[in-house]
Every structure is written in structure tokens, then in C-alpha cells.
């Protein structure tokens, strides 16, 4: 039997595409290499009860996968590192039903109008491949609005003076602000910044049959035990409720089978290790910006630019210790953000000139704390002082931090390819990441960190420290921060564009040169913006799927 479509990946992108296809009456299979801890095995429209507020399981024992022992990736900063610098964990967003949506704390900002046209707005930067997107904000706005309604986003329209225009309000008001965020937001305002309640895909009121978030505090890195986070639970349950879709967990897409200009199906490896081919008239690839190019490369499709222009967010982390306890274990990990560092103002222009750059852009700044005592315990040296440090808690209960998700410029040398010899447990070549930041990212980080340190001091910090990820040094796989970027915001490896000589997919995600292979995740991003990619990739995936069913 031939299905209308196989969707590879059950994260926010795959779920968004599947939702549109299944509701249009297409018969589909969603193929997910990870396990199903999200939905009830007997009734997939109901949540499973596997998620829990258990730090060991989620943070130290890779419950959501991928386990780097059986599904490693490799990393190097450039060809001069040889074949690889590191084998193991590299930018691993979860490999599980629900994908990256399950572990995130649900920050789902929209991009701004100019994020889609950086080249025409600000001009090129030497050594980077800055380009305009073939889609603009106005075209995407209805899909943003649909996505916010589908996954359930809480936020306050008008609270962010730098936000793009919106066709309507958020579906829900913001949830309760965290104590530390109220203090950091007040300090930020004192310095002329514009903090606002973070748009969050966690219910502030009961919504779409799911309960309101009860602010349990185990948000970032955790699956939600009460399913108050809507991304992508809402899309998957709605898809499966149509009866047109089947979800195949523990099933790895090994190759897209292609005849001439058409894909005819997907060869998969099942939970028991056996191979079979699922026939399909359309193949939608949504494995994330590392696994998607891996699958295209394994299939020999997509052309010479597959895997190129890999982007992550260049994270600047500014932390401070306070005399007062800030109890970041109460609340949704991040309740406030500010966008001032996204804006190219006179200060940013001056900093760019001083760095020999035509312009520079930072990213959204998250106001957050630390809430995990096992992570904290591993930070302090062992011995007599350890118990007293745990009780006074300078690195958890009395810590507050800003994380800037800095714009990362696209560079043709930053890429995903197949490692020449490292294999996963199935015997399939793994993805190799070659990445190093452009000097733009370093200059933007250096410029914006100064004011963030000042804000923490105004807030009352007695000690501050700044780190970046990736860091200039550190041992990959051993140190918490190293040249391997820590960001799970991975983008850009099947670039979208009208010209097949400079891009991999067209404006609707269709792989150039093939009639029926669509990419529906952040791989298609042309530039990285300074915002989490989820809502934008969901909007793009829904738009691509809508074009298919028309």
C-alpha cells in the first residue's frame, strides 16, 4: 500500500506538517526514531504518564535521547582539526516522540519583519552568506497566528515595543511572573531596556482540553507531566484524532527512495532492526537541522549545498550571585525576555564600526535562574566545603542569569556532513558538525554583555561572570562549555531560496530538482535571527503542507 505521505520526524515541524496533511484527508505515517513517552500507547490521542519532575532521568540519564553511546555525532571546528575533534553529544535536541518540543520551556517568539530581509536592509558581511528569505513576514503572519492558536501561546500583545505587527491577540494572557524575573525586569528597565512577558507555549489557563500550568518549576529540559505545554502535543493529538495518521516510534528513516525526479517512499529500520520500505507519494523531512541533512546525504539527494550554512545561536550567558534567595525552582524557567539587543541602534552601529563590521545584531535575552540541585552539586569542588556551598547555594538558589540567543551568521564552511568512519548502533554513518563562529558573533557578544553585567549589578548582584557557548577553549565532551556549541537552536542546513545554485529547497520547502520531497523544519532557515526557531519553523512547515494539499 502506498500512503499519501511519510513524515520523517515527530517534533514541532513534522507535527505541524502532519496536522495539515491529515486534516486534509491525506493518509500518512509519521516516522520517529525515538521512543514514545508522550502519548498513550493504547489511545494516542491521550497523553502518556512517563514524564516526571525527575532531574536524574531528564538531565543526567538522557531519557529523551539521543543517547550519544548509540547515536553519537562528531564535531570539529574546521578541516585543520582532521576528521574530528570529538565523538559523542553534539547539539542534541531530543530524539523522542514530540522532538525538541518536549524538552523546551516553550518560549515561542515570532521573528521580526527585518529578520527575513537582512541583506536588503543592512547589506552583506564579508565571510558570511547573508541573504534575504524568499518569504516575508506578511506572508507568514497568518501561519504564525494559526500556530499560536494550535499549540496555545500565552503572551501580551503590545508589551514588546520591538515586536512585529500581529493580526490579533495571543490566545492566552501571560502566566505568573517569577520573583527573580520581576527584579531583573525592573533593573533592566532602569537601564533603558524593554523587558516583557515571554511568549510561552504553556497554558496560563485551561486551553484546548489541557490544564493550566501549575508552575512546578521543572520546565526547561523536562517533558511536562501534566501536558500544560502545548508544543507539539496539541498538533500530534489533533493529527492522530483524524484517523488518517499512524505514528511509528522507534523507527529510523535510513534512506529516501528516489526514482528519477520522484521519491517513491522511505526505507526504515524498525525497533527490531529489520528494514522495510514504506511507499509514499510525498516525503516530508523534519528531522531537525542535523538529522535532516544527514538523511538527504544518505539518500544522495539535494545537491552540493546540503548541510551547508549550519547556524546555531551564539549564546552569551551572564550570571550573577545575590544575597537573597530567588527560588527559580518556582515557575516556568523563563518568564521575561527583552529584545533590545536584536535592534541595530546607534550603539550597535558604533560597536560594529569599531570591530570593522558594517553592522551587528545580538539576540533575544532570556531572564532566568537555576533550579537543578544535581547540576549545582557537580559545579562545586568535592570535599569539606561542599555541604555548606549546597546550603548557601550561590550557583542555584541565589543565582540569576541572562542568556542572549545571539544571531549566528550563515557561513558556507559551517556544515553537517557524514562522518567518514563513525557509525551509529544501526551501522549508519553519523552526522559530523563542522562549526566555528564568525567574528560578527564574537563582536555582538562583546558589545551586548557589558550592559547585561550592569543590569545584574543594579539588581544587587555581588559577583558576576560571563561565558559564551561555544567557548574559545575547553575540552569537548568533558567541560560544560567548550568549542562545541551548547545551543539546541540548530538551523540552516537545507537553505531555502528561489535559485537552485545557491539553495537546496524552494520557497515552499520543496527540494530543488525533485517533485515530491519537502523539508519542514529549521533546516530551511536562510538566517538565524536572534529568536528561538520553533514558532517560525512550525509556521513554515504548516505553510509548506498547505501548499501541498491545495
Amino acid at each position: 500500500m502506498t500512503l499519501d505521505a511519510v513524515v520523517v520526524g515527530s517534533g514541532p515541524g513534522g507535527a505541524a506538517a502532519a496536522d495539515v496533511l491529515a486534516r486534509a484527508g491525506w493518509t500518512i505515517a509519521i516516522v520517529e526514531k525515538g521512543s514514545d513517552h508522550l502519548l498513550d500507547a493504547g489511545d494516542p490521542t491521550r497523553p502518556a504518564d512517563h514524564f516526571s519532575n525527575d532531574e536524574l532521568k531528564f538531565v543526567h540519564r538522557c531519557f529523551l535521547g539521543p543517547d550519544p553511546l548509540v547515536e553519537p555525532r562528531t564535531f570539529r571546528t574546521g578541516e585543520e582539526d582532521g576528521e574530528r575533534l570529538h565523538v559523542g553529544e553534539v547539539n542534541s535536541i531530543p530524539s523522542t516522540v514530540g522532538g525538541g518540543g518536549t524538552h523546551a520551556d516553550g518560549k515561542v517568539p515570532r521573528f521580526r519583519e527585518e529578520d527575513f530581509c537582512l541583506l536588503s536592509t543592512y547589506g552583506p558581511i564579508e565571510g558570511a552568506s547573508v541573504a534575504d528569505w524568499p518569504v516575508d513576514y506578511a506572508e507568514l503572519e497568518p501561519f504564525y497566528a494559526d500556530a499560536e492558536r494550535a499549540i496555545g501561546v500565552a503572551g501580551e500583545a503590545g508589551a514588546n515595543p520591538f515586536a512585529a505587527w500581529r493580526s490579533g491577540p495571543y490566545p492566552m494572557p501571560p502566566g505568573p511572573p517569577m520573583y527573580g524575573a520581576l527584579l531583573s525586569a525592573a533593573a533592566a528597565e532602569h537601564h533603558g531596556l524593554h523587558p516583557y512577558p515571554a511568549p510561552t507555549a504553556a497554558n496560563s489557563v485551561p486551553y484546548d482540553g489541557r490544564p493550566a500550568c501549575n508552575d512546578c518549576g521543572f520546565c526547561a529540559f523536562f517533558g511536562c507531566p501534566i501536558h500544560a505545554k502545548g508544543d507539539p502535543v496539541a498538533l500530534l493529538t489533533r493529527t492522530l484524532a483524524t484517523g488518517n495518521a499512524e505514528l511509528l516510534a522507534d523507527t529510523f528513516a535510513a534512506r529516501i527512495v528516489v526514482r528519477g525526479r520522484r521519491a517513491t517512499g522511505v526505507e526504515v529500520i524498525g525497533a527490531d532492526g529489520s528494514r522495510r520500505t514504506i511507499g509514499a507519494r510525498t516525503v516530508v523531512v523534519a528531522g531537525g537541522a542535523v538529522e535532516t541533512p544527514r538523511l538527504l546525504l544518505l539518500s544522495g539527494i539535494g545537491g552540493p549545498l546540503v548541510g551547508r550554512f549550519l547556524m546555531v545561536h551564539f549564546q552569551t550567558i551572564v550570571v550573577g550571585t545575590f544575597t537573597e534567595r530567588l527560588h527559580a525552582h518556582k515557575g516556568r524557567a523563563v518568564t521575561h525576555v527583552h529584545d533590545d539587543a536584536v535592534v541595530v541602534d546607534d550603539d550597535a552601529r558604533a560597536a560594529a564600526r569599531a570591530a570593522g563590521l558594517p553592522w551587528l545584531r545580538g539576540g533575544m535575552v532570556e531572564h532566568g535562574g537555576a533550579a537543578l540541585p544535581v547540576v549545582e552539586a557537580k559545579l562545586y569542588p568535592w570535599g569539606q566545603k561542599h555541604p555548606a556551598l549546597m546550603r548557601s547555594s550561590p550557583m542555584r538558589d541565589r543565582l540569576w542569569a541572562f542568556t542572549m540567543q545571539g544571531e549566528d551568521l550563515p557561513q558556507i564552511t559551517n556544515r553537517v556532513d557524514l562522518d567518514p568512519s563513525v557509525r551509529d548502533a544501526r551501522g549508519v554513518p553519523v552526522a559530523r558538525v563542522t562549526y566555528r563562529p564568525h567574528r560578527h558573533e564574537l563582536a555582538a557578544s562583546a558589545h551586548h554583555r557589558t550592559r547585561l553585567v550592569e543590569v545584574l549589578r543594579t539588581m544587587g548582584s555581588t559577583w558576576t561572570s560571563v561565558a559564551t557557548s561555544p567557548a574559545p577553549r575547553g575540552r569537548p565532551g568533558r567541560d560544560r562549555i567548550s568549542p562545541v556549541p551548547d545551543s539546541r537552536h540548530v538551523m540552516g542546513t537545507t537553505r531555502m531560496g528561489d535559485d537552485p545554485s545557491t539553495s537546496v529547497v524552494d520557497r515552499f520547502g520543496r527540494v530543488h530538482g525533485l517533485d515530491n520531497v519537502i523539508v519542514a523544519d529549521s533546516s530551511v532557515f536562510v538566517t538565524s535571527a536572534g529568536y528561538g526557531p520553533t514558532l517560525t519553523l512550525v509556521a513554515l512547515a504548516a505553510r509548506a503542507a498547505t501548499a501541498l494539499v491545495r
Partner: protein, 187 residues
């Protein structure tokens, strides 16, 4: 009765854990908190079924609801392979050596504890610390496991009765209660 370690190994490990994470009158010492049981349970995870890798969900019962944490999850084929490689090592088995041999935690503990010496328990604190510093990577591994056993959920064998959480003022898992808006937003 330990699950995987020998009684002699337990004795040395107890002394090691208490040098790494001693008590201070408020925080219990690692051994008093059950950290040796935590590590023994991890090394012997596959001696019980389902293996003691991932506790269940959605709630522990500490704040209402059922005691779901106590029911451990079954593992998929790939998940079991990963955890057997990590704990037992690759042991020359081709299906575990797709990227070469891996030394498992069981072997690292067996050899690491032996290398610290049968007389480890008889040394004074300073001499014990000197051996621990010389043991480098092994000490790093035990320290990481000690932190997990101290401050992870009690269902894994350590943090007995939640005593370590209580000592540092951390409430642990709080579902299904959660926090009230005024608890989130207030000092």
C-alpha cells in the same frame, strides 16, 4: 546486601563517598544519605527487571497522587543497548563495538576501588584525599555519581527520605501540587 558490589568494595566506596561529600551536621554524609546504595543500584541496574535506569511518572506521591516514580520504565532495544554498553562495557561483543571498545562503569569501579587500596579505609583524611586526587578520572566519575545519589530523587536509592533536599531547602518534585502564583512571584 549489595546488589553488584562486594562487601569489601562497599566498605571502600563508603569511605570514598564520605571524603567527596562529607556531612556538616545539617547535610547528611553521602553514605548516610544512601549514596553507596545509589551507585550499587546503578552498577547492578540490569540485575532487576525492569532495569533501574529511569523511574516512572508522572508523580512521586510526595505531594499527592500515586507513587509513580517507584515503577521503573522498561527500555527499548536501543536504550537497553546504550545502557548495557555504559554500565557493562562492550566486552568484545560486535553489536556493542560499532565504534570500538568501551570500558563500562562496572570495570571502572572494580579496578578503581582496587587501585585505591584495601587499606584506604584505614588512612587519615588527608592521605585519602591524596589518593583520590591521584585517581583523577575515577574520582571524577564517583563524584558525579555521588552528586546524583545525594540530590536526585530518593527512588534511585540515595537522598534517603529526601533528607538532602530538606537540608538545602529544595522541595524536590512538587507535582501535582505545583506552586501558587503568589509563591512564584513573591520573595
Amino acid at each position: 546486601m549489595p546488589l553488584w558490589l562486594t562487601e569489601d568494595e562497599c566498605r571502600v566506596l563508603r569511605a570514598v563517598c564520605d571524603r567527596l561529600l562529607p556531612g556538616d551536621g545539617t547535610v547528611p554524609s553521602a553514605s548516610a544519605a544512601g549514596v553507596v546504595d545509589y551507585i550499587d543500584g546503578l552498577l547492578g541496574a540490569f540485575l532487576v527487571d525492569p532495569p533501574r535506569i529511569w523511574a516512572g511518572g508522572p508523580v512521586s506521591g510526595r505531594w499527592g497522587g500515586g507513587e509513580g516514580f517507584a515503577r521503573f520504565h522498561p527500555l527499548s532495544r536501543l536504550e537497553e543497548l546504550a545502557w548495557r554498553i555504559r554500565i557493562e562495557g562492550s566486552q568484545g561483543l560486535p553489536e556493542r563495538e560499532f565504534n570500538g571498545p568501551v570500558v563500562g562503569w562496572q570495570q571502572r569501579y572494580r579496578e578503581g576501588l582496587a587501585r585505591l587500596g584495601a587499606d584506604f579505609c584505614d588512612l587519615d583524611g588527608a592521605a585519602q584525599d591524596e589518593r583520590l586526587r591521584a585517581a583523577g578520572d575515577f574520582t571524577d566519575l564517583v563524584f558525579a555519581h555521588c552528586c546524583e545519589g545525594m540530590y536526585g530523587a530518593p527512588e534511585y536509592g540515595g537522598n534517603r527520605g529526601g533528607a538532602c533536599w530538606a537540608a538545602i531547602g529544595f522541595p524536590g518534585d512538587v507535582q501535582p501540587r505545583g506552586w501558587l502564583p503568589e509563591e512564584v512571584a513573591g520573595p
